[in-house]
């Protein structure tokens, strides 16, 4: 197995294992520049992630993030998409799992029970997009201050905010 073909072979191996486990109809596949992407509905997300971790050897959650596709040209799927980048260290294979969620009150099951490293990544997604992760032990804001109420990376949030940045008392020299 040469280095160039190794990831592809590893992906094929992952797909074969998944096909044996799930059969058809659970997820759909697309490829882009060598990336293998699995789109999965929210109800089967944990099942798929568990199978990937335990049966396909994807033990490492490299990244967890989200995107808001509001107003994206040609978009037909859900508004938000949360992606999980998984790696298999033995074969070098990697796979991206994507799950869509919609307004109002977007929520997904947490990946924390599978990968404790998802803790802060899910908090960040929650902070920026307002997607709640059910079962997360401590779902607080991580970057913005606690009293912040908006979700700033949503596309319908204005770049300059809604005045939060100027919502402070003004100190004058006489008072300080």
């Amino acid at each position: 197995m040469s280095a160039a073909t190794a990831p592809h072979a590893a992906q094929a191996q992952i797909l074969a294992t998944l096909a044996a486990h799930f059969g058809d109809g659970v997820f759909s596949i697309s490829r882009f520049r060598g990336n293998l992407r699995l789109f999965v509905p929210k109800s089967r997300l944990v099942e798929l992630l568990t199978a990937l971790k335990q049966q396909c050897g994807c033990t490492y959650l490299a990244e967890l993030g989200a995107a808001d596709y509001l107003g994206y040209p040609g978009r037909t799927r859900n508004r938000f998409e949360v992606h999980y980048v998984l790696r298999n260290f033995d074969t070098g294979g990697s796979v991206i799992v994507k799950a869509g969620v919609d307004d109002p009150d977007p929520s997904l099951p947490s990946a924390y029970p599978l990968w404790p490293g998802a803790d802060w990544m899910e908090r960040e997604v929650f902070d920026m997009y307002g997607i709640r992760f059910e079962g997360h032990p401590d779902l607080r804001r991580i970057l913005m201050p606690d009293e912040f109420t908006a979700f700033p990376l949503r596309k319908d949030y204005p770049l300059r905010g809604r005045g939060e940045r100027h919502n402070f008392p003004k100190l004058t020299r006489a008072e300080s």
Binding site: P152, L159, R160, G163, R165, K170, L171, T172
Partner: protein, 233 residues
């Protein structure tokens, strides 16, 4: 204030030390005696022993470090004692952008500094928000704390910081009193402006500073098209 002539032999035996200078129509002033005001002497002492509080939050802070190092040597101006406790400082140097999460911290540190105190807003970001016109960055610390001297630049050259220290020194000498620094007319005008600003409706005060996009011919993604008055305050 009068200073007695030194009593060491080298000075005491100088022939001229008993000379009395009497300008016409003025009180007699012996040689080696200076008359001045208490305020002026106190300000003179203060201006050569400014203790800066380096509130360095971003890249400007690196330039501030260069000013403290040997090449530019802020010690030549008596301001080298950078203290990291605000209670020991009288010159705050806000160097870098201040995020909205940091603003309460900045205000608290400002309040913790003992009077009299001065503030330098260093760099484009601290003074105006710079290129970071986003929801998370405060568009100028002078909206929320009093600022005496602004330094333009991104980052400013160390010479500019030295210049700002010299300006502060001048300000201290001119406007300082023994009990505070309310003396300077610009400061009092600034105070009145701040107090007037406080009661304007949210958004009204600075709305005319916004909407520069059309003037400069660029558009910020997701920006002004959706902004109303309420959102720009």
């Amino acid at each position: 204030m009068a200073m007695n002539p030194p009593t060491s032999p080298a000075f005491g035996q100088r022939a001229g030390s008993d000379l009395i200078i009497t300008p016409s129509g003025q009180p007699e002033v012996p040689e080696n005696v200076f008359l001045t005001t208490m305020d002026s002497v106190v300000s003179w002492c203060r201006k050569y022993s400014l203790w800066p509080m380096p509130f360095a939050t971003a890249c400007c802070g690196i330039e501030l470090m260069a000013v403290g190092a040997s090449r530019f040597d802020i010690a030549r101006f008596g301001a080298e004692v950078m203290r990291f406790s605000p209670r020991q400082c009288d010159l705050m140097i806000v160097a870098g952008r201040v995020a909205m999460k940091m603003m309460p911290v900045l205000q608290r540190i400002w309040l913790q500094m003992p009077e009299p105190k001065w503030c330098i807003s260093m760099g484009a970001c601290a003074s105006t928000g710079g290129i970071f016109d986003t929801y998370a960055v405060v568009q100028g610390v002078d909206r929320f704390i009093p600022v005496d001297v602004y330094i333009p630049g991104c980052p400013p050259r160390p010479e500019q910081i030295l210049r700002a220290i010299m300006d502060i020194q001048e300000k201290v000498q001119k406007g300082g009193t023994t009990f505070g620094n309310e003396g300077l007319p610009e400061l009092r005008a600034r105070e009145r402006y701040m107090i007037a600003q406080r009661d304007t409706a949210p958004g009204a005060g600075i709305a005319d500073e916004r909407g520069d996009e059309a003037r400069f011919g660029y558009r910020i993604p997701g920006g002004p098209g959706r902004l109303g008055l309420e959102e720009t305050r």
